[in-house]
Structures are given as C-alpha cells and as structure tokens.
Symmetry: D2
Subunit: 344 residues, 4 copies
C-alpha cells in the first residue's frame, strides 16, 4: 500500500513517519513541506537518521503524489487541507486529514468556530473516531481524523451517553494536555522556561474541540448537547488526561454504568478498561495507540467521573490515522500499532 | 516573638524555616524531629547551610519548648497534632497546626473522614483561611491551618457562594497539584521516573480535603453543601491550580459575578484578581503567598468557571500559617511574606 | 526461541519485556520475582495490561525454568546473578546477565570494586559490548551485559584508543544520566521533588563503572589505563550523554580521527555517526538501541572531545541484551530492535 | 539609592526587578524596553502584578534616566551596551553591564570572540566577579558583570590556580546549564518539547565564556591559560553545575588543596564550601546568590575535581550585579540578597 504525507515536518507528520515506516503493509511514496523543501527529513528530525532519510518535496507535485498513492495523510494547519483534499480525491485517492477541516458533518459549525469559509462542502467525510464510526470508515474516501482532546473525551463519555445513563446538560470535561499538542511552531506558550514547573488553563468556554465533542456525543444521544470543556497545559511532552463529570439519571445503578463500558468496548483492542475505581495514567499509554479508561461513581453527589488517558500524538492523532487507514483498506486494524507503551 | 516548629523536617516544616528565618519579628526557639534528633537541619536540607544551622531536638521537651515560645507551629502528620496541641495550649502558648486535626468545627466530620477519634474535643480551634476568618484568627489560641487544595478551592468559590450566585449542588472542583504536596516520605507515587512525563487523577470522590471545602463553603452559604472534588498529580514540585465549575442561578449577570469577587477581595493583599477572562498560572505564584484568581462565564452552558493558583507550600501551607501568626499577634499581615514570586 | 527473565520487576526487566514481547523469534517462558510472586506483571506495570499479562513465578523453579529456556536473562542486583547463572549454565542454557557479576575477565577487579567474593570463577563470561566483542559473543554461554555509562563511554572512545590517537593517561569522562538508571527502588535520590529542577554529580572518582571502562579500553590499547569518570544525575527518565575528553598524540590529524570512527563503525547498524562537529541528543535515541556519536577537535588545547548518547534502558541495558541474544543464536542482529526512537 | 534598568524584559532584567524591588536601599527610577515601550512590566511578567507594576520607557530618554540614577544596570544583548554605557558614564552615573561588552580588559579578545568592533575602548571597566575583584569594584565606574558559566567555573578553580597547585594546561570544565540561560527569545533550542526529557552539549571548543574564564584564571596564574570548556543544556529552568577537572602538580597534598579553598573563601558569605568530598546541588542554590563548592581528589589519576553550583540568574547574573552595586556604594554586600534558597 502506497502512502504519502502532506505536511510532514510537524510533530503529527513526524509521528506518522515513525508509525508508517515500521508498518508492514505501508510504503511511503512522498513527504512534503513547503518551508523546507529539498531537505531530508532526518536533517529536521535527526532521530530519524539512518532510519528514514527521504527528502521533502513540495505540494506543487500534489497531483502526481496523489496519483502514485493509495492514501494521502494531510497534516496541515486547518484551512489548508480542504484545497489539498479536493485535489487528492479527484484522483481517486483516499484522504485522511489530521486537522479540523473534515471533522464536521455540518460545515456551518466549522465555519462558525474556525471563522473560515469551508471550500469543500461536497466532500462527505467520515469522522474517524474508529471505535464509534468503524462501519462508515470502511467505505470512506475522506476521513476527518479526530482531535486529541476530543478522542480522549468522546471515548470516555460515549458509553454513558449511548446508554442514556446521564443528564446530557450536566457534562463537564476538564482535560490536561502535554505541550506537543501545541506543535513545533515557536511560541511563548511552548517556551521551556515558561511552561516548565507550571500549569494553567486556557481557552475556557471557547476551545475548538468543544463542538467536535458535542457533535459526536449529540449523534450518540440523538439530541443536541452543550458541554463545558476546559483544556489545561501541563509540562509533559506527550499525553492527555481527560476527567469527565456528569450527573447520573435518577435510578441508574453502578452495574448499569459498568455494563455500558463493557458492552461498548470489550471487543476493542485499543481501549483498555481499568474498570470502576480504575485510574488511567498518561505514561502508561505513551508511544502507543491505547486509550485507558476508568470510572468512579460518587453517591454523595450522584455523579459519575470518567477518566481517560491517551498519547495525544498516537491515539490522539497519527496512531488513530493509521488505525483508520487499516480499516479503510481491509487490513488488520492493529497493523503497525502493536508496540508496547514506552515506560517509564 | 518567639516561635518553635514541631516536626521541622518535612517540606512544610522546612518552608516554615525559610519564611520565619527572614521574618523581621520572629525568633526561632526550637525545631523538633523524632527521627533525626540531634542533627542540624542543614544536614538534612543543605540549602539551609550557613543560613539556618540549628539542631533538631525532640518532643520530650515539648513543655519546655511551649513555655519558651509565643507560638508553636505543628507540622506533624494528622492524628499527632492533637496531643501536642493540648500540651502547648496548657502552657498558654498559641498553636498553629498545619495538619488536619484542628480544621473541623464538628469533630465528628474529622473522625469520619480521617478514621481516628479526636482527642482534643475542647480545643475550640479557628479555621485559618485568613481572608475569610480574619476576625476569629485575631483572638484564636489554636489555628487549624487549611489544606493546600482547600485554600485554592475555597478562595475561588467563596465570592459566588457568599453572594448566592450559583446553584450549590452544581459545584465541581478539578484540582492539579505538584508533587511536594505528597511530602518527603518515600513512595512510588513520588518516585521520579513514575511521576515524570505523566499525569493522573487520584482519590476521586474520597479525598479528605472534600469535607474541609464543604465546611467552609457551607458556612458561607448557610446550608450544607456536597461537592465533587478530584485531585490530580502533575510533574511539578510546587503549585496548585484549582478549576472550579458551577451553574449560575437564573438571571445572574456577569457584572454581579465580577462584583462578588471585587467586593470580597479588593482589599486583600495576597489575592490577586486577574479579572473575568483572566488565567492564573501556578508559576506566577511560586515562592509567594499570593493566590491568583480569574473567572470565566460560559453563556452556552450558563456555568461560571473560576480558576485559582497558589504555591501549595506557601499560601497552601507555611505562608498562610505565617500570615495567621501575624494576624494573631497584631502584626502587619504581610510581614515576612513580601518576597516576589520566583520566576521563571 | 524460548527466553526467561529472572528479576522482571525492575526497570531493566520491564524493558526486556517490552522488547522481547514484540521480538519475532522470542517466546517468553517465565518471568520471576521474589517479592511479588504470583502477581501478574501488568498489575505492577499497568502499561503492559492486555499486552503482556503473565504471572510472576519465583526462583525456586530456576532449574525448571532453565531447562525450558534457550536463554535466560538475569536482571538481579549484583551479587545475586552468580548463583543463578551457575545453575542455569549447568542445564546447558545460555545466560545474559544485565548486572555486574559477569562483566570482569579478572574477577579480582570485581571483588575489589564490588566488595564481594566472586563465587562463579570458572564462568568464562564474554563482555557483551556487541560492537567490540561480537565474535566472542557468538559462541559465549554467559554474557556480562555492559553497564549503561560504560556502553556510552567505551563506544565513544574505542576508535581513538584502538587507533592509538590519544594519550591514554588523559582520558576524562563526564557523563549525565536520567533517573531510571537508579532503578525503581525508593530512595531520596530518586524522589521527584528532590531531583526535579536540579542537577548534581555523585560518586566522583569511585563509581563502579570506572573499572569496566578501563578494562575494555585497556584491552583495546593493550595496556593498563586509568581514567577519570564522573557521573551526574539529571532530571530526565531515560538517556545518558557521555562527554569524553582526551589529548591527541602529537601530529594526529583531524582526518585520522574521522577515519578512526568511520573504519570502526561504518558497518554498525546501531551506531549513528554524526560526524566531526556533530551533537548527539539523548532524546534522539529514546526508546531505541542507537548510540549516536559526534566528535570535536579543539586546536587551542589539542584535545578531542567525543560525545555519545544512548537510551540507558535500551542500548545501555535491555536492548543490548537482546542484540547479544540475536548474535548468540545466529539471528539478524537487529531483530526486535528496529523501532524508531520516540520523539519528542 | 536610585537605580534604573536598561532592557528590563529579559529574564535577567526581570530577575533584577525581583531583587531590587525588595532591596532596602534601592529605589527603581526607570525600566526600559525598546519593543514593549509603554506596557507595564506586570503585563509582560504577570507574577509581578501588584508587586511591581511600573511602565516601560524607551532608551531615547537615556540621558535623563542616567541623570536621575546613581547606577544603571544594562541587560541588553552584547554589542548594544557599549553605546548606552558611554552615555551613562558621561553623566557621572555608574554602570553595571550584565552582558559581555565590558568583561574584557583586552578588548581585542572581545572583538575576536564576539566578532564586533569595541566602540568604548576608553571605558576602563572592572570585571565584576566580586569575590576576586572586590577592591577594584569599590571604585569602579563601569562593571562588566561576569557570565553565568564563568562565575561558577572561575570560583571553582580560583583557589587551585592562585595557589599554583595544578597544571595549568590540564584544565577541563564540563558545565551544565538550565534553559533560562538562553533567555526568553523564541528558539527551537528552548522549545519545551525539544528540550524536555533530553540533554545535549553545544558550542564545544567555541563558547564565548571560554576567553572570559581564561582571562580571570590567567590573571590569577600570572600567565596565559588555555582551557577546554563544554556547555550542556539540561531540562531545568534555573541552575548551573560546573564540573572542573585538573591535574595536581607533583607533590601537592590534599591538605594543601583544602587550605587553598578555605583561605580564599572562608570569609565569603556567598560561597558555601561543602568541603573535600562535598557534592553541590543546583537546587540548593535556587533563588539565592550562593555558590556552593565541593572538591574531590582522585589518587588513581592524580586529578582534582571541583564542582560548583549556582543559580544562573542570581549569582550568575542579577544577584552578583546587586552584590557589585552594594560594594560600589559602600553598603553591606549582602543587602537585598539574604533570601533563603527556594527548596524543593
């Protein structure tokens, strides 16, 4: 299977390279960068030296790249993937976009939160949260690969919403992310001395992953949902922990909650249920495509608290993209994704 | 003013030494340790070398220490302060306990959550959250100095509760703490390689700071309150960030919220209001007695999100203890506590 | 190929599990622990959950384990491997010991530095620095797998010593290690709050990796060597950087230095030469078996400075052990070791 | 005493503000920034909010600022201080420059290493390593405040060089610095995800602190010295550890080495001798003006290894600048610098 990566020099692109270069069925055809065309990727990421040394080309050759590839991964900033995606699918090649452009079934939601006109309205993308949309992924030509916060948060809450165990208006998600989620672009917010030995919240009541979570949970609920979502920046490189609060509907039992998780996820290889009382730890997922989930019921307040942990660059980005590729092409979903987490 | 510290070898005791040794009115009479009696504190904490080199004595001399001191700080594990406190006040000496033994006006709450009989029922302690209990602190003979999570959380929510702006049953507190909060005792939970590059929740729906927050907010509300409180461990040494969610009562305006914070705190030196839309950062408070507070209103969900940041060892422990000492002895409340935060 | 691990609950043992469980030719027969017999390894290391869940047995079954295994990895504290090794080789099973017991050809050196009698004098072990001792490893029955500091340091200096380009009395090695090198045993030296945001040297002029480096370099030089070796503890989990100083012999040119590195290592898959002027970075090797090497010549002082970087748990321990296993059994040396480094 | 800071928005400038704002004799007259003129410093550094809120002015007012100040601290990039210094001393105001422009008695050394013409040749600056140049500092009108690496390294080696105990050609300095030394300017070298969980060397045989160390040690030795100096970047915010190697002259005893340290430093408040066998730890100096020094003699190699630790922003920059100010104006040298280190 021939794959290409558009925008390979960010952390997401580089992580795709790590995973795809050891994928037993994938052959990397082309990797692109506009700012560093001509450089070998191993000059930019020396850890890939002697491992993956190919040169970066630029997007002027996109038609040719698409024609030579079975699937193209797009790891461009939002707003840039739409134009590329349009050209690629025109060649009959499948697209997996790791940005936000293809995540919304209702493009007006995209336009409102991202403040950009959507220029590929006819795309009919599938939202690539594999565990929940697997059937649609199988036949999709364009995948909108989910955001990192959203993957952790939706997977944590989906069983409760799907089985109608919680009050939909009560959902609060408090998420903590490592700094790699902010990418490799220079910013005071990613400057070592500012971030180190510190923690802060940001974008309260306005983060763009909010409508993405609301879309997926709303589809499961069969009704519109509004949630509170608060992201936090913590001084680690990789990892997201999502702590999700909601109020149980009257009469819901702990056994029903347990059953909701088990029935939805017991067959899922990449979801590890730590059970009621379990505590996910981001480090336990580092470098892997696992999502670890534990849940807790508080009888004093009648709330259920679900905690999920992922590696934001793997299950939250490149790993899930490869998982989707496997599904799209009828491969074993786990191919190229069975490395154990790197601990400690 | 003569002060002593019972249990000086933990991080809280050591932080008291840092603050008291530069306090213009305090003279340290005695410091104690049961396990390291006879050692100079600077052997255990070499950063104090040439700065504060006194030897540790043991508690057998407690009566004598109490007699020579105007105030004794107790930094022992909970359950151990009660006996010491009883002896000290018997000498007419004031007590500031940094553990949990004197934090509850209803000792049955203590007994329930800490699973210990309370042996100093007659103590009549004052809860030492200085900004809210200043008048009582002035005349107290025993102070129960608040916990770290509780200080950050109560200060964040007090204005909203006091002014009856929020639904009391809707309070959720998601807090993040540095590892120094777990002390210097060895544990896999504080082992570098386990904690580093990782984040996790713990003690969901069961952390002992829960009833302490409920007591203080309940007193402000004039009714019993049950909250959800979730602590998290993040890989920093110092700092707590508390993200507090609650639903606004119908009809409450943003201006009322703002006014609630300003009216309660505008004269408070150690509370820095970052305003509506403000984002506290733990690093901005490091080494200082400040509590930084910002708040956000989400019209989509009608929730108010308050974020507070403190240094858990200063405003969350030793600094607030010194602040209480200043108030108890009629000194300027800021004495010994006016160092700028250490940044970056 | 059937393998077992004696002492699987330390970081080295756990890292062996990570590597061996994905090794295409290895099947894990037994893992042991004395203190946690009967527990599943995934209870102790939850990151292995659903990945490798086997139960720990104890060493009473060592004869049986040896009989069922082609090779046994020993990850016990030094002093404990000798007895186990003796029993295992008696069964005709090969041994790879990750501790110090089998690292010294002259056991009196071991006895002097480790202050223990050597009880397996007849062992005839091979020192498992694969790149330098490959021929001997092929036929060895017992491998003394090198230490972490020593691997990085010997590989950095071997070309210069072998080609007689430097003054042997001038060697100074200044090494920096992550905290995982100190293991999972609790200690104030590995306590998060003590180590974090700090750096220190330790064991100056007395670290036990010193004679191991001197042995290997001495064999290359054909004469006894005394070096200065200083280890440092830095607040990272994985990684060793070794900065090695020595004085060039009169008349030695930069080209000769370059040639020494290239001739010794150009065929070595796990050694990445960054060239003269190159700067190894520990993060570039994280999770991989690579050793990155760069060198610098200072004409002002006539010194050559060689810098090497490894992941201490991989090339410095478990990875090199697997590399040795591959060599011992005639497999492709890279089997199970071709994962890309985990970055960032 | 009236003081001003030219270039107050870098970490060095901000640290000067932290120290000077609590200095009992200093009153801050003006702070400048070219890029952020008009902003309050507390907008740029919110940790200073309510603590020091003054607005930044620009350098167009330099003559006026100089006229109103007794001393002006310059915290500009090298090459920019010379012009400012010239104007300030013309007003009869003293200058303490925290950059490199005034560090070299022979300006041709500056011009060679910094590749810039020196435009203030007539300045007659004094090198502000207070412990070694105190007498000259007392009467200086311009101080070239030492670099961070150089302060730690010179203080470590000065006793040995001064007392002629070591071979001058044998000096090797291996130094490790936190990231704050690279300043607040954005760079991939200070990007959190690149630096975190990693260590590397840089500028081997070419770092600009090399000639500064050689100048100071050469003056003590009475002869020209060439050293090897290797800086390393480690993932901490503050702190420098300098590990210094040299060969003892034949016949030099341990007692002579001890005596050299004690005789030079026993009266020095800011130097804490940890003795022979002592291990400085950067965290023990954090936030303070201390330099901790320990030394070790290796009879196997006849080398002495000296280790020193400082906070690079305090003793390595702003703290030593304030120390110099105190000396220049006849104040107690410790004024404003007696805060205990912040630990942990």
């Amino acid at each position: 299977m021939k794959v290409s990566i558009i925008g390979a020099t960010g952390y997401t692109g580089e992580e795709l390279l790590r995973l795809l270069s050891s994928h037993p069925q994938a052959e990397i055809v082309a990797i692109t960068s506009e700012s560093q065309t001509g450089a070998a990727i191993s000059e930019i990421y020396p850890h890939l030296q002697q491992f993956y040394d190919n040169k970066l080309v630029n997007m002027h050759q996109l038609d040719e790249i698409a024609a030579q590839s079975d699937v193209v991964f797009i790891a461009l900033p939002h707003g840039h993937a739409m134009e590329a995606g349009k050209k690629i699918v025109a060649k009959g090649t499948k697209v997996i976009d790791l940005g936000a452009d293809y995540r919304f079934s209702d493009t007006s939601v995209y336009e409102k939160w991202y403040k950009l006109p959507h220029t590929h309205q006819e795309a009919q993308p599938v939202y690539g949260l594999t565990e929940l949309y697997r059937e649609q992924v199988k036949t999709a030509s364009i995948i909108g690969n989910p955001g990192c916060y959203t993957t952790a948060s939706i997977l944590a809450l989906a069983p409760l919403v799907k089985h109608q165990l919680i009050e939909l208006s009560s959902i609060i998600i408090d998420a903590k992310s490592g700094v790699s989620g902010a990418g490799r672009s220079l910013s005071l917010n990613s400057h070592f001395t500012e971030v180190f030995e510190s923690v802060k919240a940001y974008n309260i009541a306005g983060h763009r992953h909010t409508p993405e979570i609301e879309q997926a949970l709303g589809e499961l609920a069969g009704s519109e949902i509004f949630i509170s979502f608060t992201p936090h920046l913590i001084p680690i490189a990789r990892g997201i922990l999502s702590t999700c609060y909601s109020t149980l509907k009257a009469g819901v039992t702990a056994a029903q909650v347990d059953e909701a998780f088990h029935s939805l996820y017991q067959e899922e290889y990449f979801i590890r249920l730590l059970g009621r009382g379990g505590y996910p730890v981001t480090k336990n997922t580092r470098g892997s495509n696992y999502c670890d989930i534990g849940w807790h019921i508080d009888p004093r307040t009648n709330r259920v608290v679900v905690v999920s942990a992922i590696d934001n660059l793997v299950k939250g980005a490149a790993g899930q993209a490869v998982q989707n590729m496997n599904v799209m092409f009828g491969l074993d979903e786990r191919l190229g994704l069975t490395q154990a987490p790197l601990y400690p």
